[in-house]
Symmetry: D2
Subunit: 290 residues, 4 copies
Amino acid sequence: MLFHVSCRLEYAVRFPSTLILNVHVQQTESQSIVREQFGVDPVVPLENFTVPGSDNRFVRLETGDLQNLSVTYSATVDCHHDILSARTLEDLPVGDIPAEVIPFLFPSRYCQSDKLSRLAWDLFGKQPTPHRKVVAIVDWIHANVEYLSGSTDSGTSAYDTVIQRTGVCRDFAHLGIALCRALNIPARYFTGYSYLLDPPDFHALFEAYLGGRWVLFDATRLAPLNGLVRIGGGRDAAEAAVASVFGGVATRSMNVECRLGEGQAFVPLDRPDLNQAAVALETTSDSAAD
Amino acid sequence: MLFHVSCRLEYAVRFPSTLILNVHVQQTESQSIVREQFGVDPVVPLENFTVPGSDNRFVRLETGDLQNLSVTYSATVDCHHDILSARTLEDLPVGDIPAEVIPFLFPSRYCQSDKLSRLAWDLFGKQPTPHRKVVAIVDWIHANVEYLSGSTDSGTSAYDTVIQRTGVCRDFAHLGIALCRALNIPARYFTGYSYLLDPPDFHALFEAYLGGRWVLFDATRLAPLNGLVRIGGGRDAAEAAVASVFGGVATRSMNVECRLGEGQAFVPLDRPDLNQAAVALETTSDSAAD
Amino acid sequence: MLFHVSCRLEYAVRFPSTLILNVHVQQTESQSIVREQFGVDPVVPLENFTVPGSDNRFVRLETGDLQNLSVTYSATVDCHHDILSARTLEDLPVGDIPAEVIPFLFPSRYCQSDKLSRLAWDLFGKQPTPHRKVVAIVDWIHANVEYLSGSTDSGTSAYDTVIQRTGVCRDFAHLGIALCRALNIPARYFTGYSYLLDPPDFHALFEAYLGGRWVLFDATRLAPLNGLVRIGGGRDAAEAAVASVFGGVATRSMNVECRLGEGQAFVPLDRPDLNQAAVALETTSDSAAD
Amino acid sequence: MLFHVSCRLEYAVRFPSTLILNVHVQQTESQSIVREQFGVDPVVPLENFTVPGSDNRFVRLETGDLQNLSVTYSATVDCHHDILSARTLEDLPVGDIPAEVIPFLFPSRYCQSDKLSRLAWDLFGKQPTPHRKVVAIVDWIHANVEYLSGSTDSGTSAYDTVIQRTGVCRDFAHLGIALCRALNIPARYFTGYSYLLDPPDFHALFEAYLGGRWVLFDATRLAPLNGLVRIGGGRDAAEAAVASVFGGVATRSMNVECRLGEGQAFVPLDRPDLNQAAVALETTSDSAAD
């Protein structure tokens, strides 16, 4: 499936600052980049880099004395979303989790799984398999947390959301991750471009490690899982922010787009179902772990 | 300098569980392992592993149906602690921080640097250099937080400690890390064996990335920095716990030792001083980033 | 019903301090004191007092230079516990709540009802009457929070308990109060001697204001509601502590007893039931509000 | 000194609701009401009331099916602000604090004095007298917390402010109260009309109980203490909100005014000074405690 993704970010700079952006899509086994373009106007010094243990493609910019900065990115990406049978997602005891996946068992800034342990076991511990536990978590979040723009901020974490019960996609993802980890199921944050997301924006959801694969889950249910194009991931939003600012820079506008390639026919994946046992997923190249 | 380090950990097992231990010392440019022994009694299946982006040497154990488990580790380690002149620790703008160091700028589970930003800039922002900022942070923690065994637990984070003002070495380290990151200085958690620590125990402190090197700081001032033998590190204690339990396992006893090699003469490093410009440090091999 | 209640509190004094104790039972319409004795050994200056808006009977002690202090209290109390039909507990809109009850609608130190609002309405909002809402709250707390001695401390509040899901009677009471207030049902903290509580101790529970009366609820279900002898109450434990210390005083031991009067036959009140519509309650004299 | 105070509050009502307003000025020994007018448009059922232990003058309104509601209040008030010599503010051990003042020693919803104890003693414990402790608290808040409109919300408490270091008058007051109580100095919340406050609004500050009197302190230093007209007070903002809504009501606009009476000459009280030993204060009638 071919997608055209793009974003345009406008910044106001108050004093010379460094920006770290994470808007490039990943190159993975299931996602190949056909064409890609990145530009900054005016031109400033920039550096592409990745960090150990991650495939996120970061760009670091120096604003210098500029007052305004405009960043544009566009790409054409060929994505293969596997649909798995739930039966194939066998139990994986902690003892068999691959080494590179183990960090995603531990609590992180916005996913305090250590504090949610009893709650998670009380609510979901009786589900017979890890896959059913995660499905129950997603159902519970969808039923109990209201999607409400502006109801949270960059300091909001899973510990808050489980009580306040409002949030945006980022908060839904953090709560899902925290509850999975509390049940010893590895989980990580996922950011991407999202086809049919309305209004268009970057999207955040989460992956759980089930049966040896990273499987996508979206408790917001705002967009089809097979319309996602992966930008990146990490323990939580602290590691996968669209933009991290070191200095004095404010966002003036942000436009995001995800269109279908010409001539493509898209069949939105029905919400994954327990009986039908279908889940959407995306395999990363996991190069850092090879 | 040659050190003999060892630990003996006794566990009571309630039901079949997985344990992930992090007691092995690291092999780095400045720390070479002369001899090493690890044993579990009774013998159980175990696996050694590392995770991407880290040199920590983990061991994963399966308890099976055992009720008691005893783990012993001992090593002889040759450590070189550089003493640096503070003048060499030049400023390093965010734009020049190496890619593999950037993750240590972001908030983590126990180091909510995003919430401490204003406090950190108010207290330490006027210090002229990053090195002086970190020294001022360490002085401030030492003066304002009381070391008090049992005053905190595994859920305590920097956000709590900055108010409650009591803690153990782990809490001192977390607060130091959070305040550094709030000032855009990369900082990470350090665990190790510690010569002259009284009572003997594993020790935790932190490293700040200054002038292109990871420099050791210990706001507890309980032991000389040149008596440290590195076990591991990470964003915070969530990534470098001595033992992570998945299942039902309780610690029954823990004995830790760090002795000087025979015939070695030890001159404890006086507390690093701003004028004298001396700091103790230890270089990791940073293999994951090569 | 006649009860003999008593307590013996032993204190170690480190330096001259003030103690405020709240161990005397209240004199109310439904609870009359037949005999009462209070002693401090050695004898120290003391003062009995009440505070506006409360019937709690406080004693203030000055320890002076003493190193040890022993407080004893005993009373024989005649208590009338009404059993009400739930049908009589009619709805009472906020507009009809008496003035003196209104403070118990607001959040307090350990009962952050303002933060639990959405959660409370989601879980209990559909219950048709205030009485059924409170019964549902009590059922939910009983089912979801585990009574676990030592699992919390004096800083634990309803916000913590709703996530951590363990606590002691004080925590069960705070959570019940917070959830009631979040639903615009006035609720207050209740402390007392408790017949058949095992092990014997002071007990804490809560009252909700329903149909114009303060009705007792105990989410711990550890003791019969018609075996309670009221000491006091307030917004939460901050206003009804057994002992508040100003200075340096540590508790060395605490013994509490509640026995049935001679020749009395006690029929423990079965757990209040929705259909049977029975609730235990105790009317205060509400003198402060007259 | 004669002041004309007034406010106009406009509300949008979504469904039938109850409002509790606290905009009437208090009648005390040092503040007498010359003229007063209160109106609601359209006319709705309303009730004036006070609660035990407080002199706040509340009004309860029923909106019924109205969609818009406008509340106006105006008063002419004669206020006597005493200027005290600091020398008269003698130490008052906890043992001598009047009974009705004792509740203001305990933690409350927004003033978690129990959690700030060590911090308060570390920062202010060495000050020789309670008055100097409070002056040091006010100086510290003024120096370390930035007044920043919109930086906090109704859930923000002293625990947050001591870290985040931004807030509005309400937050400055809560932090002052919490720090006083942590030092065993009774403190309470004060709301009022404020002459020369710019922009005009309701104001919040705090009173500490020193030498047997309630003494005014304002860590924002935004308006002269002798230009205050008291509306009310309490443990914290939970007890003295301008408006408490039970139902669905949103504020559409709020206008507040405080003018000097005709022909009055106002000499703003210079900021209270340690050497000059002058403080502004206002005595309540304390009728509830009589």
